[in-house]
Amino acid sequence: MKIGSALVGLFLGALLGFGSALAAAGIVGPGARFSGAVDVSGWASDWTIGSKAANPWTRARVARHGLLALTKEEAVYFTRNTDDAGDRLREGCDYRIKGEAMPAQWWSITLYNSESYLPDNTDNALSFDLTDAASAGGPASWLFDVSANPSASGSGWVSSRAGGNFDLTLRLYKPDADFIADPERVLQAPSIEKLGCGEAN
């Protein structure tokens, strides 16, 4: 009887442990963050990404959702999946992203679907970067729209077509040292304003 109880407990524990590991790694669901988290106005990052200092949950989640990510000395990655009102970013709504100068040698913002892949569309509007900002008026004050159809405003555009529930990843390459030391103070994080949603959504 005791052996039976022990085996049942062991089996159920192992089953739950297996499932919770897959969930924490983001194999099932978005994954979990337990330490090293950096949050600047809803843009989430982790300074231990890519390094041996990362805890096992971060390492597993990055392997699943950010394989071949660089350490913070070379690049940092921020992800956000909600707008300024806290609502989930989704294909059925239009958004305006506004930002200022970024504390890095080069930066980009790219849209990914919930599976961490580029959305399956042919719009050739997958990201907005420093090059776009410079050509659109200057890297010190820039904006672009995210929507399923081309922006009517004439500003830059990133297509969310076929993106479903998506997120935006801000990459900062060769980040400034003072930004790494104090990200919440140095980074003027881009805002995400919801412009409106389609009736069907």
Partner: protein, 177 residues
Amino acid sequence: MRLPFIGLATFVIGFVAAHFIVLNALPDYIMSKARERMTGSGIAVHAWQMSPRVTPETQTIVRPSPDLAYAICIIDVSGGPVSLTVPTWPEYGSLSIFDASTDNVYAGSLDARLPDAPGVRRIVVALEGQAVEPAEGVDVVVLAKPEALALIRRLAPSQGLYDAAAALVPVSTCGPA
């Protein structure tokens, strides 16, 4: 010991053991699967392979950057150290090494605008215990396991810049030292 406590104790042991065994095994598993996919698609070991320009149709790994041109070399140092030489780039660029557990164990700039830009970045990748002759201007990367990936990133948001980045791959090396 009472039955419920025995069951609870083994439940906790099973949970913790399974959770951390799976969690610690996942990075190695995912990396080995990525290597398998690459070799399965025809990428040879110890040869630079330019990735197609990143689009939704060509993406093979999660979260690729469409603004970058990537080239990859699959490394196996079980037979001895591997030497890499990679030309610099007039914009942002990096040469990075990822070990079998997905850790970014090396990142060197390829940005030719930097004051200490080497012109050609040279590194030697070796397994722990392998002898490597120190040489000026050559970075040495030591691995705990023989499998690794080398990745070149070059800022190339246009087709013209992608083509220019691709033209540098034939003059880059990745092979036994």
